[in-house]
């Protein structure tokens, strides 16, 4: 187990390094970024100050070193729009995004797994078709459109849910649902196929031979085994969910990183945008690492590989 962790950590470090290089190159894609890092209408002296601070007059490899050093210090520059430290702005917004992501993940898993179980266990065709249609809709409708429609229905027409802001659970329901619907389709599909496969296993036959009620056979014996691939998918989906959260946060003015990204992009607040992307990416690599390790811990058979 320990060797497995160390190996994954080393690989993780390499991946983080590559991520930093990619982002670095992306920001230099249009040439000299100094004009993006400075206020419009800045004087030559001000531009020079910035050049020095970020080593922009140095050759490219050196620039990268400065970039890394600054990033490690947490210095992503000033928010051009707000004047404060970009990193501070970013840190402030993290809890809100985490809250949204967790809620959406829970909803998507709950809906997804239930859908999969229903599709397997139910005898009636209409239930299977309903599950299928629900998944298809979730995959096809852009999540921000779901959000807008939801607002139209629940806020404007019915007036039972608020349209923006964060605070009580009412504020969380629509954004979390709009974000989570898309992902529930994947969980439904995996639960469905995993359950079908599991239900063919001998231990399910024995569970029935033991005279256990059918709901227990499916709900306990089958489900726990079927969950392993679901969790794998859930782990892989986190990256996508973070991206998908951006338009959702925007529609609901949810004060998280996605909304910050949107407003900063609109204001051409380059430093903040760069900072957000970098922080999130590094975080993603670490998260993947954690999921791998967790997965090895959960499935006792993997550990001994």
């Amino acid at each position: 187990m320990k060797r497995y962790i160390i190996r994954r950590l080393l690989l993780g470090v390499i991946v983080v390094w590559i991520v930093s290089v990619l982002i670095f190159l992306a920001t230099r894609a249009s040439g000299d970024p100094v004009l993006m890092m400075a206020d419009p209408g800045a004087s030559e002296e001000e531009l020079d100050v910035i050049r020095n601070r970020y080593g922009l007059n140095l050759p490219l490899p050196m620039q990268y070193v400065v970039f890394i050093v600054n990033s490690l210090k947490g210095d992503f520059g000033q928010s051009l729009f707000q004047g404060t430290d970009a990193s501070q702005l970013i840190l402030e917004r993290i809890p809100a995004t985490i809250e949204l992501l967790l809620a959406a993940k829970l909803i998507s898993l709950a809906i997804g797994i239930t859908g999969g179980v229903l599709a397997v266990a139910s005898r009636r065709k209409w239930i299977k078709n309903a599950v299928r249609m629900f998944s298809l809709l979730g995959l096809s409708m852009p999540n921000f459109w779901i959000a807008l429609l939801g607002m139209l229905l629940f806020s404007v027409l019915l007036g039972i849910l608020p349209t923006s802001g964060r605070g009580e659970i009412q504020h969380l329901i629509m954004p979390a649902f709009a974000l989570g619907w898309y992902f529930s389709a994947g969980y439904t599909r995996i639960t469905y196929s995993a359950l079908l496969e599991v239900l063919n296993q001998e231990y399910i036959k024995l569970a029935r031979i033991k005279g256990l009620p059918e709901w227990l056979v499916i709900g306990k014996h089958a489900l726990k085994n079927a969950m392993i691939p679901v969790i794998t998918l859930a782990g892989m989906n986190v990256v996508i969910m973070i991206s998908a959260a951006v338009p959702i946060e925007t529609v609901f003015a949810w004060p998280g990183l996605g909304y910050l990204l949107y407003t900063s992009a609109g204001n051409r607040d380059f430093n903040v945008v760069q900072g957000v992307v970098l922080i999130i990416s590094i975080f993603m690599v670490l998260l993947n690492l954690l999921v791998d390790i967790l997965y090895a811990y959960l499935d006792p058979r993997i550990r001994y590989d």
Binding site: I14, V15, A26, M36, S140, I240, V277, V285
Partner: protein, 290 residues
Amino acid sequence: MKMIVNMRRILQRYFRGIPKIPAAILVMLFWAAIFADFLAPHNPEVGDPRERLLPTVFETGGMLKYPLGTDTMGRDVLSRVIFGARVSLLVAFSAVFLSACIGTLVGICAGFFGGWIDQIVMRFTDAWLSIPTIMFATLLAVVLGPSVANIIIIMGLIYWTRYARVTRGEALSLKSREFVHLATIAGSTKLRIIRKHILPNVMNSVITLASLQIGVVIVVEASLTFLGVGVPPPKPAWGLMLSEGRAGLFTGQWWLIVFPGLAIALLVMSFNLLGDWLRRRLDPHQQSLL
């Protein structure tokens, strides 16, 4: 006469079991995209400000002239939706094509040549996959400036990794098959082997993946455009219609959001269903994804 019968038979064989409604919807949308200039009743980019925010023809105040209503600048919603099909389809297909090319190339090289090239490419792909797509696209859009060409390039750059993963796996397993060995012994250059043996066999998976990706790319493009970092105004993109129509929600102009979004949903749904059918045709053992 015989030729017509033959053609008919070929068509029937190739399109056996195709889900009809999605196919019809796609044909309609493709038609709209290609012949927009003739189908759309009005100019999608310039409107009459005197006739702004008119509701659909079914409501009071609506006119037959603007069946689906008008937006804040007096532009006809129906025309914009029709032209929007062109934008969405153009961007989506170009982006998918680009990412498939890059990804397949990288993947085949990694799988075929193996060794340290493979390791490097794998780490690279892992890294790329860790970067959240929309956020990265936003960054690139801020750096490069929004335009249709840029959004295609950006999305092409983001999605190549999926193709690389898949083709790498296939190339790896194909590499050790007999016909490759035979070709090597017979003196084919590596390039030739790749072109004649590996590539055709990988195509099935690539097409399968591409069919899965189209829906995703359309939605992501719409999202990016909605956020302002995709297709720039005044082009009639569905994402733009949604972002511009947002304000109308609170003042009851529901048609500004419902129709563009519906168009996206129908397009993506049809692609998803057809993609599913295509996958099952290409590989009967694969389970339906829906």
